[in-house]
Symmetry: C2
Subunit: 352 residues, 2 copies
């Protein structure tokens, strides 16, 4: 090893789901939305001018924070935007989890949490989901350096009741509590922790344009919290990269955020397909927790998940398989269009 | 202070140059290119499809790294891309400067270096430029945890000879040496440290689309180095955010990188205006080092920089003033179009 390598930060990076180039594949592996974004988004991209390309974007991304503030009835000073919710979450780990005390998150959850903790050398303790894949509220009432969990959780799809979220916040005035709501728009209305913001200065709610708004390709995520939290987060962001949101993302994001009707309609379609898929998969011998997201996390009574994953792959249907303890018997299946799901069901009917 | 604030990372962020909304202002404060990017860039943005918006982008940004690799005659595995060179540099600080030993950079330089070091708690020692605002090669031959400097340096505009860069690399096999070449395309051909790459595995050269390619608004920066360096950098990047380059940036970046003729022509025009500006400003009583960039760092024999900055501002001409030791008598003036510079010269002729 060359001597310059002594000072290199060694990490084991997160492995994202595959992005195959073949567009004929039925792609049910990365929880993308099968429907297009608001037509305003393409129009906004075509409207980007030479002058705005030439110039630095607004570092405060005001056009986007303002539109989101209006949509969620908060002050623009309560909104932070980033390059996907991963950027928002990475910056939040860097900003808020510096006490030296271990942070808490579930053992079965978004696998990036562990990666960020390792990257920034943040100690952590994983808390075991119960046998029904539910987050156990009481596990988050002990001393900690911060708390993060997705709600609904991924890859399980299970939603925590808002009462339990409130209990966790009440017990933790000394920590920042991050509720990662990447999938919240697919859950019943009123499930979001956003309504708890007036009560808790230390609550950060993170959401994304990647799922419900069909814009994974534009990398837009956001956080809403108290002005104090957002101020700290911006200080770290401005110490990392002044201008994270390019002119195209700002324009496209604004157009999407102004057209809430569009995404609510696509979400309605995805939910209808999800509920139909639950019935189909049940009839085929699969079991699963009650997902409130745009994916199902399923186990078959007979077929091994890994074998099924590979058989589907050979048939041009890609789902997600995690080779990890407690979940290596499961597949995570993104809800696609009805037509895509029928291809999946037909394959399973013939091959199980 | 609330108890949750104990674990918050406190930093003093970098202050970017102002981005006024009034388009009638003569904006010579953030080193943007006054000419538009390649026409292919707008076309690429209009060509972004609904399907690519809906899907995650390629995390490896292969379409862009491949085009850059071809343009610079290196392997795609030697190229890293990020959200502007700030993102590339931030990630490089995080990845490479972990030895615990102080890193070295000039006292008068890009002020973000100090901000990144503070953010990541990296010790550093600033090395004094000499009276002619040159980087002193011998200051970089002592023990260190890493070296970074811009070449040409900013805000001075001064270029270091490649022989001196090589000397620094030869003396530092135990550190990563980052040459930040944001302005290199405005320097004489052959000035880049890229030609030293075959000799030094620990050399990272960072460049940007923001200046010569007129694309500050799209946030595209890149690094070229040994495959080993790029591999480590990617590991940290994938531990921070899998997908940093959105579909619009990938498409626009590819179009720009394929049209080198376009940016070389705009650079030629900027250089011609820069050389004419040197003469005009000289005749007006300004002195300056010999800038090889798209800006001039000037001091007037009589007028105080701060007063001049404010007078220009009132006249609708924005330049950059740094209220810092050793340079508080200077203004940094971006090279605009000939017409913009004439407005500046006319004002100065009437008011000095």
């Amino acid at each position: 090893m060359a001597s310059w390598e002594d000072g290199v930060r060694r990490v084991v990076p997160y492995t994202p789901g595959e992005q195959p180039k073949d567009l004929h594949i039925v792609k049910l592996n990365t929880n993308e939305n099968p429907y297009p974004p608001s037509p305003g988004v393409l129009a906004a991209l075509s409207g980007v001018t030479e002058d705005s390309l030439r110039r630095y974007p607004d570092p405060a991304a005001a056009v986007l924070t303002k539109t989101l503030a209006d949509a969620y009835h908060v002050s623009p000073d309560q909104v932070f935007v980033g390059v996907g919710s991963d950027d928002v979450l990475a910056m939040s780990f860097l900003t808020f989890f510096n006490s030296g005390k271990p942070i808490l998150f579930p053992d079965i959850t978004y696998s990036f949490y562990e990666v960020w903790a390792d990257l920034f050398r943040i100690p952590y303790q994983k808390q075991k989901l119960n046998a029904d894949f539910e987050i156990v509220r009481n596990d988050y009432l002990k001393e900690n350096g911060g708390i993060i969990f997705p709600n609904p959780n991924a890859p399980t799809g299970v939603l925590m009741e808002k009462g339990a979220v409130r209990d966790i916040l009440r017990a933790n005035p000394g920590s920042v509590v991050i509720v990662d709501e990447a999938y919240i728009d697919f859950a019943p209305e009123g499930s979001s922790a956003l309504s708890l913001l007036p009560e808790f200065e230390n609550l950060l709610v993170v959401q994304t344009f990647s799922k419900s708004r069909s814009m994974a390709g534009m990398r837009i995520g956001f956080a809403i919290g108290s002005e104090k939290l957002i101020h700290y987060l911006n200080d770290c962001k401005y110490s990392f990269n002044s201008y994270t949101m390019n002119q195209a993302a700002l324009a496209a994001g604004k157009a999407a955020a102004e057209d809430s009707g569009w995404y609510r309609e696509t979400v309605r379609k995805v939910i209808a397909t999800r509920e139909r898929s639950k019935k189909e998969l049940s009839a085929l011998g699969f079991s699963f927790a009650n997902s409130q997201t745009n994916f199902l996390f399923v186990r078959h009574e007979k077929a091994k998940a890994r074998d099924l994953f590979q058989a589907l792959r050979r048939a041009g249907i890609i789902v997600r398989y995690f080779d990890s303890p407690r979940i290596d018997d499961y597949l995570r299946i993104t809800i696609g269009t009805d037509e895509q799901m029928d291809i999946l069901f037909d394959f399973l009917k013939s091959n199980l």
